[in-house]
């Protein structure tokens, strides 16, 4: 199903984990369709360079690999350069994905957009024009038959407490 590079990025993910001193966090996806991604950024306030980046992903090998790849691609870039990266770039950088897994690369792109939007919101209270602020469920293009409500679970809330959901 997967090529060697995807397997490599799944088996040995780069930048996995939490970033304790992140100043931007984005979370996208929906447990209903099985992929949820959280991206932590540490952005330099002066030159808007993404100095550090980490991800946490609940999902299949493609989801984990694309999450990892996008963090590798944007680390050290400015926000505006990072925003030029598309899901197609991520999939290409991995040498391609099976068609049924292409939507995972969309998750990686939107996770980044959500984190950047969070950065601006924290800093200025709003997302500047030209920047997207994806909602929590757009990755599958609506194919999940519209189930977007997080489950009412007692034990584990879907949205963690330490950040605001990207609108």
């Amino acid at each position: 199903m997967y090529n060697e590079k995807v397997i490599d990025y799944f088996m040995h993910p780069r930048n996995a984990g939490k970033l304790e001193d992140a100043n931007a966090i984005g979370e996208v996806g929906n447990p209903t369709c099985g992929d949820v991604m959280k991206i932590y950024l540490k952005i330099n306030d002066d030159n808007e360079v993404i100095e550090d980046i980490k991800f946490e992903t609940f999902g299949c090998a493609a989801a984990i690999a694309t999450s990892s790849m996008v963090t590798e691609m944007v680390k050290g870039k400015t926000i505006s350069d990072a925003m030029k990266i598309t899901n197609k770039d991520v999939a290409e950088a991995l040498g391609g994905l099976p068609e049924i897994k292409l939507h995972c690369s969309l998750l990686a792109q939107q996770g980044l957009e959500a984190a950047v939007a969070d950065y601006f919101r924290r800093k200025t209270g709003r997302v500047p024009a030209g920047y997207k602020a994806p909602g929590s469920c757009t990755a599958c293009g609506g194919a999940c038959s519209g189930v977007t409500k997080p489950e009412q679970e007692e034990e584990e809330p879907f949205v963690s407490e330490d950040h605001r959901v990207a609108e």
Partner: protein
């Protein structure tokens, strides 16, 4: 431990036993005649076919004439359900089945629903059990058939087949059960159980793929799926897959042995070691399906905070073959409908792993799996947005 290869996906398919293969081989190059031919080549093939029919019949306490050989379990399910529906369409058009059936049953019933039939799908409880009272409540005057599987492939639960069949008997409704996962692993005697039809598949009991069987109680009339030369008592035309059927027969005979010689008990012991070990070593993990009313070789768990395909691939790289009911492994966006019907939430259902033992699994294999699985879970949990240490 050095890497081993441990195949734990026997619910998907099994290895052909060497004795089965040895029994089959002569029927390719020596006894290759058409069993319907009158000459010596045909007669040899016919003899083998007849013997295989007896072996399969004996495994389940049936008469040889009650066994129809098909091209597999899915075909047998189709024959049972469509065959009954078509044959009985003047008597009634209502069919009852359960929400955890294999697609070969569910999709067939739903298709009949578009062809002028009506159906009711029974729910299950949190262990995957069908309630005989709910079955009784669903029966209408025009109900002709109920189909509930003997044991479920994803969660291992063994259904209360006797009670379900008794309800059907009381109301004059035919009772079919998909026995693909149970046949050869659990004692089944159709003389003692109120089963009217039962599906079997050779490749789930160390026989070859592409051959299965339908047990049909004497007196039940079915409309065949496949018309033609009239083989299999007119119910399944086509020159018989002699070698395959011989293999099925031998597999059935070996299974009958295993049911009495203690091998099944040993499998159950190993499986219990596996379940207990996994639940103990991996926190926040649940067993799915019933703990005791369960196929002896079947273990299925949901590991919280992580996803199934990831576990599957990491286990694969450790030489261990398992399966999962997550959306990602099914190619759809929904996790397994069987797990959802237990009442599990989506996230938990996505973290499902099924481990189904084979007859050759050893204690060392179980030790190896118990050694390899927990670190795999830890690795995936360290990357999960849901896991808090």
């Amino acid at each position: 431990m050095t890497q081993r290869k441990v195949y734990l996906d026997n619910s998907a398919t099994t290895k052909v036993d060497k004795r089965v293969l040895d029994a089959m081989l002569p029927y390719f190059s020596e006894n290759y005649g058409n069993p319907n031919s009158l000459h010596a080549w045909g007669r040899e093939a016919r003899k083998g076919l007849d013997k295989a029919r007896s072996q399969v019949a004996e495994l389940i306490g049936a008469e040889p004439k009650d066994i129809i050989f098909t091209g597999g379990g899915s075909e047998a399910d189709n024959l049972a359900i469509k065959g009954t529906a078509w044959a009985m369409k003047e008597k009634g058009r209502h069919i009852i089945t359960s929400c955890i059936e294999h697609h070969a049953v569910l999709d067939t019933v739903k298709w009949l629903g578009k062809m002028g039939y009506e159906f009711t799908i029974l729910p299950v409880d949190s262990y995957g059990m069908v309630d005989p009272q709910k079955l009784e409540a669903a029966i209408r005057p025009d109900t002709i058939l109920a189909s509930v599987m003997f044991a479920n492939n994803e969660i291992g639960t063994i259904e209360p087949v006797k009670e379900l069949g008794d309800v059907c008997r009381r109301h004059g409704v035919l009772f079919h059960t998909d026995g693909v996962q149970a046949t050869g692993h659990v004692n089944i005697n159709v003389k003692e159980l109120p089963i009217d039809m039962m599906t079997m598949a050779a490749h789930k009991m160390y026989g070859p793929k592409g051959v299965g069987g339908l047990y049909v109680r004497r007196g039940i009339k079915l409309t065949p799926l496949i018309h033609g030369g009239g083989q299999e008592f007119g119910l399944r035309s086509g020159t018989e897959n002699t070698a395959g059927v011989i293999g099925f027969g031998m597999a059935a005979e070996l299974a009958a042995d295993r049911l009495v010689n203690g091998e099944i008990e040993n499998e159950r012991r190993l499986r219990d070691r596996l379940i207990d070990g996994l639940l103990e070593k991996i926190p926040d993990t649940i067993l799915t399906g019933h703990r005791t009313e369960r196929l002896p070789y079947h273990a299925s768990i949901c590991v919280k905070y992580i996803e199934g395909e990831g576990m599957l691939l990491l286990m694969d790289s450790a030489g261990i073959g398992v399966s999962s009911g997550s959306a990602c492994t099914s190619g759809s966006l929904e996790p397994s409908y069987v797990l959802l019907s237990l009442g599990l939430d989506h996230t938990t259902a996505h973290g499902s792993v099924r481990l189904t033992l084979g007859k050759d699994i050893t204690d060392e294999d179980i030790d190896y799996v118990l050694e390899q699985f927990p670190p795999i879970v830890e690795k995936l949990r360290s990357m999960s947005p849901f896991y808090k240490k």
